[in-house]
C-alpha cells in the first residue's frame, strides 16, 4: 500500500502535502469550534493523526524527489495545526458569538442569529473609547520611537563591550510582573509622591498644567498618566527590534557615505535610517497593537474619563455578561487595527516585513 502512495506521490507529492495540511488544519479548526462534536470529533482527530502518520510514511519511504517536495508541508504542519486550533477556531467562535443574541441576560449559550445589532452598538456606544484607545496608543508609539531609537542607536553603535549588559538592562523590567510595575507607578505618581514633589520643588507645576500633563496639581488619573504608562510598558518592545536592525548595519557603509562627501547627518538620514526601518516597523506593530487593546494602564493610572476600548470590552465580558457585544467590540478593534496596519505597511513597510 505504501508503494502505491509513493508512486502517486512521485507524480504530485506537493499536492499530497498541501491536501493533508489543509485537511488536518480544517478538521482541527472544526473540532475547536465545536462544529464537529462527539463521535465525529473523534473521527476528525483520528483523521488528523492519520494524516500526520501518512506524511511521515511518505517522507521516509518516498523517493528523494518526493521527500524534497513534501518537506515544506511537513515542516508547516505543526505551526499550521497550532494556529488552526488556537487561532482560527477561537477567531471563528468569536465571530459567531459577535453575531449572536443572548436568550436571557445570564444565559450561558448565545443563539446565533446574524444579529448585526451588536456591531451597531459597538460603533455607536463606544466611539469615545475607540478614539481614546487609538489616540493614546498612537501617541505612546511615537514616544517609544522617540525614546527607543536613540537608545537602541547608542547601544548598537557605541555600546562596545557593554552591549549585552545594556540590552540586559532594557529587558530587566520584565523580571517583574506587568501589573505590579503599573501599580507601582501609582505610588510614584501619587499626589504626595516623589514625582509630584519634585515637580513642585522645581516649580514646574504651572508649565506641566499648561502642557496638559497635569490636572489640578495631580499627575495620576490623567490622560498623560495613561499615555506615560503605555510608553513605559511597551518601550522594550520598540528598543529590541530597532536594536536588531541597527546592529546589522555595516559601519563601513557610513564611512563610504562620508567618502562620498556626505555629512554625518545625511549619512545617518540616507544610510542608517532606511536600513533600520524594518526594526521601527516591527517595533511599531509590537507596540501599537497591544497598546490599543490594553486596559491595565487605563485601569490603574487613568480616571473614568480616560477609559480605553480594552476596559469596555473587559466590562462587557465580565460585568455586563454581554458576551456577544464584547465579541463584536473585539472584532471591530481587530478590524480597525488590521486596516491601520495595512495602510501603515503600504507607506512605511519594507520588503523584509510587509
Amino acid at each position: 500500500m505504501s508503494s502505491a502512495v509513493v508512486r502517486w506521490g512521485v507524480r504530485r507529492p506537493e499536492m499530497l502535502g498541501l491536501g493533508a495540511l489543509l485537511l488536518a488544519g480544517g478538521l482541527l479548526a472544526a473540532v475547536g469550534t465545536r462544529l464537529l462534536t462527539g463521535p465525529l470529533a473523534v473521527l476528525a482527530l483520528g483523521t488528523v493523526f492519520a494524516s500526520i502518520v501518512a506524511l511521515v510514511v511518505v517522507a521516509t519511504m518516498g523517493t528523494p524527489e518526493t521527500r524534497r517536495k513534501i518537506a515544506p508541508y511537513g515542516l508547516l504542519k505543526p505551526g499550521m495545526l497550532w494556529l488552526a486550533l488556537f487561532y482560527l477556531a477561537p477567531l471563528f467562535t468569536l465571530l459567531r458569538l459577535s453575531l449572536s443574541t443572548l436568550p436571557s441576560r445570564f444565559a450561558v449559550e448565545a443563539n446565533f442569529d446574524w444579529n448585526f445589532d451588536n456591531y451597531v452598538t459597538a460603533f455607536t456606544d463606544f466611539g469615545p473609547q475607540f478614539q481614546r484607545a487609538f489616540m493614546y496608543s498612537g501617541i505612546a508609539t511615537i514616544l517609544t520611537i522617540a525614546i527607543g531609537y536613540p537608545l537602541a542607536y547608542v547601544i548598537a553603535f557605541r555600546g562596545g563591550k557593554f552591549r549585552n549588559l545594556l540590552l540586559g538592562l532594557v529587558v530587566i523590567p520584565f523580571f517583574t510582573s506587568y501589573l505590579i510595575r503599573t501599580i507601582a507607578w501609582r505610588s510614584i505618581l501619587s499626589d504626595n509622591g516623589i514625582a509630584t514633589g519634585m515637580i513642585g520643588k522645581f516649580r514646574l507645576t504651572w508649565m506641566l498644567e499648561t502642557m496638559g500633563m497635569m490636572d489640578n496639581g495631580r499627575l495620576i488619573n490623567t490622560p498623560a498618566a495613561v499615555i506615560f504608562g503605555l510608553t513605559y510598558n511597551f518601550l522594550p518592545f520598540m528598543i529590541l527590534p530597532i536594536y536588531v536592525s541597527l546592529e546589522k548595519v555595516d559601519v563601513r557603509l557610513v564611512d563610504a557615505a562620508k567618502d562620498l562627501y556626505s555629512t554625518s547627518t545625511s549619512a545617518f538620514r540616507k544610510v542608517v535610517v532606511p536600513l533600520s526601518l524594518p526594526g521601527v516597523f516591527a517595533g511599531t506593530l509590537l507596540t501599537f497593537i497591544p497598546a490599543a487593546g490594553d486596559f491595565v494602564n487605563a485601569l490603574y493610572l487613568g480616571s473614568p474619563n480616560t477609559t480605553m476600548i480594552g476596559n469596555s470590552i473587559q466590562d462587557q465580558f465580565l460585568v455586563q455578561n454581554n458576551v456577544p457585544l464584547a465579541s463584536a467590540m473585539s472584532f471591530v478593534l481587530m478590524l480597525i487595527i488590521t486596516v491601520f496596519v495595512i495602510i501603515y505597511s503600504r507607506f512605511f513597510g519594507t520588503e523584509d516585513l510587509a
Binding site: 436568550p103 436571557s104 445570564f106 489640578n216 495631580r218 473614568p304
Partner: protein, 411 residues
C-alpha cells in the same frame, strides 16, 4: 417554595443530548420557565427519564447530598472576601483554625472573592450549565444572592443542622433578597456612607453634597458597587431606594453622578482598593464601607467614616451553597460555629463590621469594651432607622441600572 424541590440536574441519565440540555438549562435560567415546565420539556423529548443529568459531573459526587469524609471530619471549602475573618496571628488563634480544631474538619479558606460581578462571571459558565463549582460556601452580597436564588443556582441551607441560626438578628430574618430565608445566612453586614480624610478635606464632612463640592474636584472617589454609590446619592436626593422598581425612579442619581464624572470631579471608581488613596490623601472624600474605614482609621486617625445626614445604605454579604456543593454537613457545622456569639465576637473584633448574630455585643464587651460602644459596629436604633437596603431589582430593570452605571464609570 416551602418544600425542597427535586434537583433537576440529578437523576438517571436520559437520552437528551448535551446541546438540548444546555438550551433548556439556559431557558430555565431565563426566568419564567418553571420546574414542571422544564421537566415536561425533558419528557416530551422521549427521553428515558423525566429529568436529565448533568453532563460533566464526575460520577460518585451526588450534588445535594452529604457524603462528607465518612462520619466526623471531612472537608470544607469557603471562598470569602479578602480580610474578612480574624487570622491566626500574634498568638491568637483565628476562627478557621479554631473551627478545624473543634470539629476535625479539614477546612480550606480562600480570599479569592474580590468583586461580585467578577465572581459571578467566573461561576456563570459552570453553574449556568448545572455543573458544580469547587467552593462549598461562597459569599455573594445580598443582591447577588438574590440573583442566584432567582436563577436557581443555589442549594437550600440545611438549617435543621444549624441550631445557632436562631441567633440571627431579627431584622435580617426573611430579608428582601431571600424572602423565605432558606438560601442564605448573612456573613457580615455593614453600611456604605462617606469616608473622608480630614487632613485632605480640611473640614469635617456631614453631607453627600460635599462629594460634589468643586473644592474637592479630582479628589473624589466612588464605589464600583452600583447599589452603594447610586444608593447613597439617591438617598441624598430624597429617593427611597428600598422600594425602587423602575430605572426612572433612580435616574436623578445617575444624572448627578454623570455630571460629576463629566466635570472631572470624580477621580476614580474603586472596589476594595481605596485604602491607600484615602490614607495618603489622593482621595479626599469617597463613598466607602464602614468596616474598612474603621480599619484604616486605626493607622490614620484622619480617615473617618460618617453616616450622611440623608442616610447610608445597608448591605449584607451572605453565606450560600452553590448548587451541587459537596460538603453540606460540614458547611452546616461551619455556619453553626460562626453563629455562636462567642465565635462571632472574635470575627467582629477583627473585621469591624456589623455582626448578623445576636448577643455579639456582650461577648465583644468582654474582649474590647471600646469596640462594644462603637456606633459603627453596634449602631443604635436611630442610626439604623436612617439606613436603607437597595430593593431587589427584576432582571431587565437590573440590566438597565447596570448599563447606565457602567456608562458612567466609563468602562
Amino acid at each position: 417554595m416551602t418544600t425542597r424541590r427535586p434537583n433537576p440536574f440529578t437523576g438517571p441519565r436520559s437520552a437528551m443530548t448535551r446541546r438540548q440540555l444546555l438550551m433548556r438549562a439556559g431557558a430555565l435560567g431565563a426566568a419564567g420557565m418553571t420546574l414542571p415546565a422544564f421537566l415536561a420539556a425533558c419528557g416530551s423529548d422521549g427521553g428515558s427519564g423525566a429529568s436529565a443529568t448533568t453532563p460533566g459531573t464526575t460520577p460518585g459526587t451526588t450534588p445535594g447530598t452529604t457524603p462528607g469524609g465518612g462520619g466526623a471530619g471531612g472537608s470544607l471549602f469557603f471562598e470569602n472576601w479578602p480580610s474578612y475573618i480574624d487570622p491566626t496571628e500574634d498568638g491568637a488563634t483565628g476562627t478557621v483554625d479554631r473551627f478545624k480544631e473543634a470539629t476535625g474538619i479539614d477546612m480550606r479558606y480562600t480570599e479569592a472573592y474580590n468583586d461580585n460581578n467578577e465572581y459571578f462571571a467566573k461561576i456563570q459558565p459552570l453553574l449556568g450549565r448545572g455543573e458544580p463549582i469547587d467552593p462549598d460556601i461562597i459569599a455573594p452580597t445580598s443582591w447577588l444572592a438574590n440573583r442566584l436564588i432567582r436563577l436557581e443556582w443555589l442549594d437550600k441551607l440545611p438549617l435543621d443542622q444549624v441550631p445557632n441560626a436562631a441567633n440571627l438578628r431579627a431584622d435580617l430574618q426573611n430579608p428582601a433578597w431571600d424572602p423565605t430565608g432558606e438560601y442564605s445566612l448573612p456573613w457580615q453586614t455593614g453600611f456604605a456612607g462617606i469616608a473622608y480624610n480630614s487632613d485632605a478635606t480640611g473640614r469635617e464632612i456631614t453631607s453627600v453634597d460635599d462629594l460634589f463640592d468643586p473644592e474637592f474636584a479630582g479628589k473624589v472617589g466612588a464605589l464600583t458597587e452600583m447599589r452603594d454609590t447610586i444608593g447613597v446619592i439617591a438617598m441624598s436626593l430624597g429617593i427611597d431606594i428600598s422600594t425602587l422598581t423602575t430605572f426612572d425612579e433612580a435616574k436623578p442619581a445617575f444624572d448627578k453622578l454623570q455630571e460629576a464624572k463629566d466635570s472631572g470631579q470624580i477621580r476614580r471608581f474603586h472596589g476594595n482598593d481605596y485604602f491607600d488613596d484615602l490614607s495618603n490623601g489622593n482621595l479626599a472624600i469617597t463613598i466607602g464601607w464602614s468596616g474598612d474605614v474603621a480599619a484604616i482609621a486605626r493607622d490614620n486617625p484622619a480617615v473617618k467614616f460618617v453616616f450622611p445626614e440623608s442616610g447610608a445604605t445597608s448591605w449584607a454579604d451572605t453565606m450560600v451553597l452553590p448548587k451541587g456543593a459537596k460538603n453540606v454537613a460540614q458547611a452546616a457545622e461551619w455556619m453553626n460555629f460562626v453563629y455562636d456569639p462567642v465565635q462571632a465576637a472574635q470575627i467582629t473584633a477583627w473585621v469591624g463590621y456589623v455582626s448578623p448574630v445576636d448577643g455579639v455585643q456582650d461577648e465583644v464587651a468582654k474582649l474590647d469594651p471600646d469596640l462594644a460602644n462603637d456606633p459603627l459596629v453596634f449602631p443604635d436604633d436611630a442610626t439604623l432607622a436612617n439606613t436603607q437596603g437597595f430593593a431587589p431589582l427584576a432582571e431587565d430593570v437590573e440590566a438597565e441600572y447596570d448599563a447606565a452605571f457602567s456608562a458612567i464609570t466609563g468602562a
